[in-house]
């Protein structure tokens, strides 16, 4: 696995702004494991949500353009953001299986594309290709029984036939990867439940309800930290804990990290650029206590 060729990588807009710590830590993890990520040149926004209207051609042109330029770089495209992954993977699936739409989209963006690129999420790459064994060997600061709640959310898992990622009812990839890093993943049933997503835009109350359901279960399971791979999940779960603490007397806030932040630190990264200070529930006391960041 050492010194592999650099892998074409799509960071996406959020990882350049609000979730810059996710981008930086993802690069750290892959560099530490000997397969550095190479940012796709000249990329554009994926559109953020997969278009669900029947006549969705125009909305597909953005992600299609990304797929075309990635195909010029190689046969695979690594994606970190769960939302971008969902959009790119489903667009790729559609272009592969619907010849008529593929032709129209290709004509519009004046490119040729036959759908033979593989869109892969970095979690899948780490688990299924680089392998848990390799992660275990490369550990510099094992997580030593850290009780972590692996939170998958919706976008990695569904629709299962299109995103093809783990068992949607009982996902294990993230748990197994964290266990390889020495953590003790906690069991809780809400790992694939919705965090509230974009509901916050329309109904703060409904979004809070959704996040609360997930967080209460995580809290009841005794987790010390939550990890995710979706900037929106991270935002919802992190941001709403103050409100939940006001409603529920016994609720104990839990920091919410990107899984690569935790993994990057375990692999010896110094945490520079992880923007840990921007999290609403401050993860630094826990990370310091565990010797993962410098005191």
């Amino acid at each position: 696995m050492q010194n592999m060729e650099a892998l074409p990588y799509f960071p996406g807009c959020t990882l350049k702004q609000r979730a810059a710590g996710f981008d930086r830590s993802a690069r750290d993890v892959f560099s530490a494991l000997g397969s550095p990520l190479a940012e796709l040149p000249g990329w554009n926004c994926c559109g953020a949500t997969f278009p669900l209207t029947v006549e969705n051609l125009l909305d597909l042109t953005g992600p299609a353009r990304i797929l075309v330029s990635a195909r010029a770089e190689g046969t695979r495209l690594a994606v970190a953001c769960a939302a971008c992954y969902n959009v790119l993977r489903r667009t790729n699936h559609l272009l592969r299986t619907d010849a008529e739409k593929r032709e129209k989209v290709c004509l519009f963006i004046e490119s040729e594309y036959d759908g033979d690129l593989e869109v892969v999420h970095i979690l899948e790459l780490l688990h299924r290709e680089i392998g848990c064994g390799h992660v275990r060997q490369a550990l510099r600061r094992p997580l030593e029984g850290l009780r972590v709640a692996a939170y998958y959310g919706c976008l990695l898992l569904r629709p299962a036939a299109e995103v093809g990622f783990d068992d949607p009812e009982s996902p294990v990839l993230l748990d197994e990867l964290l266990a390889a890093a020495g953590a003790a993943p906690v069991s809780y049933p809400h790992r694939g439940e919705c965090c509230g997503g974009y509901l916050a835009v329309r109904s703060e109350e409904a979004a809070l309800e959704a996040s609360k359901r997930v967080l209460m279960a995580i809290s009841a399971a005794g987790a010390e930290v939550v990890v995710t791979s979706c900037p929106l999940c991270q935002y919802n779960l992190d941001r709403r804990q103050a409100a939940i603490a006001r409603q529920e007397a016994g609720f104990r806030p839990v920091p919410v990290l990107y899984f690569t932040q935790l993994l990057g630190l375990a692999l010896g990264a110094d945490g520079a650029g992880y923007r840990l200070d921007e999290h609403h529930v401050d993860p630094r006391p826990l990370l310091k206590e565990r010797g993962l960041v410098e005191g």
Binding site: E169, S170, E193
Partner: protein, 605 residues
């Protein structure tokens, strides 16, 4: 064409319009107008005039509707009056009326295998409506071709094959036992093959049945004893069908010990342990029943992961105790949630169809639970309740009113364990809100699927199963108990989900079909099958591999190929394969075919 039709309408019954000219072999040609279906694009009168001059044609006439009673009378009378020894009816597809015209000819004393159909409707008038001239020419060519065929047709007699009056029943549940008893009581031998260790099937797992809460154990035991003690029924437990060959009336079935039988500590197989025994039977009934979809496939309902999520058959077992106790800790559950359509009507996770029996047995189980645990609560999640059947709706109402079972209309989203309870997330679509039920036990009405190995058994029997493994019936409305393979019949849930009453009905219907078959002195079959000219056959065996019906074999002693006429469908694949032209299908001899082609090409006067 209106004028033509009017004239035809006035035609006296049984009298051809034209006088017949008699020379050589006496063939009559009868051209149908089919109203304007044929006459609209084919000049039928010109066709009649033209073919009248063909070699061997004694008379040719046209008529409005040849299949009508007057049309058939015209044919019969022409045969009698003209002394015809062969006829061509130019009309619609032979799949429509070949049998009609053959019967009419036979009634007039003509051998029915000297009746041929020239299809000038589907293959001519309907597809050439734009060009009357060419359509007429094509119709004439088709008729001329069939005239050539009739010239070479031999008079044939239908083939008779004997019937072995013994039945094989596969499956010892209520369906198989019912068929076996009916047929054995009527005086025939029955071999009943059951792969399990006992007779009784799923009914052994069910104590009381809807809708009258009838206890089943005693009548089931009586039935099992009757089967076991019947002098004409031979029960082979721990056995399964390894292979089957032959055809209706004459199957050879090999039965071997079932996988799992005879294992150390397991049950004993009653089949010959030395690799299986052969049985000669005349008919087979498939009654292999059903099982429930594995809980592990119902992951979103906690299936396979949460101990206190059970399927309905397991709950049936729990209910058999004085008070039901849940698997995880033996506590009496105070609140039980029933989830209907667990895997049914759910193409994404389970099966697309309705399992049919769950609405009623869930009502039964909820009611029985409430009787056993009077202070317990029963909540049923349903998409809707389907209660077609005698007193079924009343029974569900009884569960709601007398049993105080709470029905919530909406699908369940998720089932998971929390502490020592099982949480059910669902939706109440009538109230329009999400609901969460904390239950002590969850019962899944898991989808009914075919028994394991059903599709494989179907392949061994050459009886087709559908994409889900249920055996296919010959016709969904008109032949519901026959498989697509003659002599193989279906009973019970092997064909589709059914309740006990329906299963017994179908089993008795299957028995009636078997008895009908056994009551015939012999089976009659079309004689237009392949034959071998032994003096030309080199015994190369190409015909054996070419035959899609396993009707061909090599006679090792004579070193020639043979035909099993009962299996042959007359398809002609062997004729094409044979390098020596030793294979011939009756009334499709090569010289006939060549003469037909010649006629189409206008080489015959």
């Amino acid at each position: 064409m209106g004028a033509d039709r009017d004239r035809e309408g006035q035609l006296p019954v049984g009298q051809g319009r034209e006088a017949c000219a008699g020379t050589g072999r006496r063939i009559g040609v009868f051209i149908c107008h089919c109203g304007s279906n044929i006459a609209g694009s084919v000049d039928v009168r010109r066709a009649a005039e033209t073919v009248r001059g063909l070699r061997g044609v004694a008379c040719a006439t046209d008529y409005g509707y040849m299949c009508s009673d007057p049309g058939q009378a015209l044919i019969r009378q022409s045969i009698a009056e003209q002394g015809l020894d062969g006829i061509v009816v130019a009309a619609c597809s032979p799949s429509m009326h070949e049998a009609t015209f053959r019967r009419a000819a036979e009634a007039a004393g003509l051998n029915p295998y000297r009746v041929e159909i020239a299809n000038i409707r589907e293959q001519c008038s309907w597809v050439h409506q734009e060009d009357r001239e060419k359509a007429t020419q094509k119709a004439i060519a088709l008729i001329a071709s069939l005239v050539e065929k009739v010239r070479g047709d031999d008079p044939l007699e239908p083939l008779g094959t004997p019937v072995t009056r013994r039945l094989l029943v596969i499956g010892g549940g209520i369906a198989g036992m019912t068929v076996a008893l009916e047929v054995a009581d009527a005086g025939y031998e029955v071999i009943l093959v059951e792969r399990g260790a006992e007779l009784g099937g799923r009914l052994r797992q069910i104590r009381e049945t809807y809708a009258a809460l009838t206890p089943l154990a005693a009548p089931l035991q009586t039935l099992i004893e009757r089967v076991r003690e019947h002098p004409r029924i031979r029960v082979l437990l721990g056995s399964e069908v390894e292979s089957a060959s032959g055809y209706v009336g004459s199957f050879t079935v090999t039965v071997r010990p079932a996988a799992g039988a005879n294992a150390p500590g397991g049950y004993r197989s009653e089949a010959d342990p030395a690799g299986g025994t052969q049985h000669e039977v005349g008919a087979i009934v498939v009654a292999t029943g059903y099982e429930l979809i594995p809980l592990s496939r119902l992951g979103e309902y906690g299936g396979g992961r949460v101990a206190d999520v059970v399927d309905a058959l397991e709950f049936e077992r729990l209910l058999a105790q004085e008070v039901p106790r849940r698997p995880s800790d033996g506590r009496v559950p105070r609140r039980v949630a029933f989830v209907q359509c667990a895997g049914s009507r759910d193409p994404e996770h389970g099966v697309p169809y309705c399992s049919k029996v769950c609405c009623l047995y869930t009502a039964k189980q909820a009611l029985l639970y409430r009787q056993r645990v009077p202070d317990g609560e029963a909540v049923v999640f349903v998409i809707d309740v389907r209660t077609g059947g005698r007193r079924y709706e009343e029974f569900v109402q009884r569960a709601m009113e007398e049993g105080h079972v709470l029905y919530l209309r909406g699908k369940v989203a998720k089932v998971f364990r929390q502490g020592d309870q099982v949480i059910v997330w669902g939706v109440d679509t009538l109230a329009g809100r999400n609901v969460e039920v904390a239950a002590d036990l969850v019962v899944l009405a898991a989808a009914v699927v075919p028994s394991a190995g059903a599709a494989e058994l179907g392949r061994r029997l050459r009886a087709t199963t559908d994409e889900l493994g249920f055996f296919r019936e010959a016709h969904p409305k008109l032949r519901p108990v026959e498989s697509l393979t003659a002599g193989i019949f279906l009973a019970g849930a092997a064909q589709a989900p059914k309740d006990i009453a329906e299963t017994v009905s179908q089993a008795e219907a299957a028995a009636a079909k078997v008895l009908g078959l056994f009551s015939r002195p012999e089976l009659v079959q079309e004689p237009t099958v392949a034959t071998v000219l032994q003096e030309l056959c080199a015994g190369c065996g190409l015909c054996v591999s070419a035959c899609p019906y396993e009707a061909r074999s090599l006679n090792a002693r004579l070193r020639v190929a043979e035909v099993n006429a009962a299996l042959c469908q007359g398809c002609g694949a062997c004729v094409v394969a044979c390098p020596n032209k030793a294979c011939v299908v009756r009334n499709w001899r090569p010289e006939q075919t060549l003469a037909m082609v010649g006629a189409v090409l206008g080489e015959v006067q």
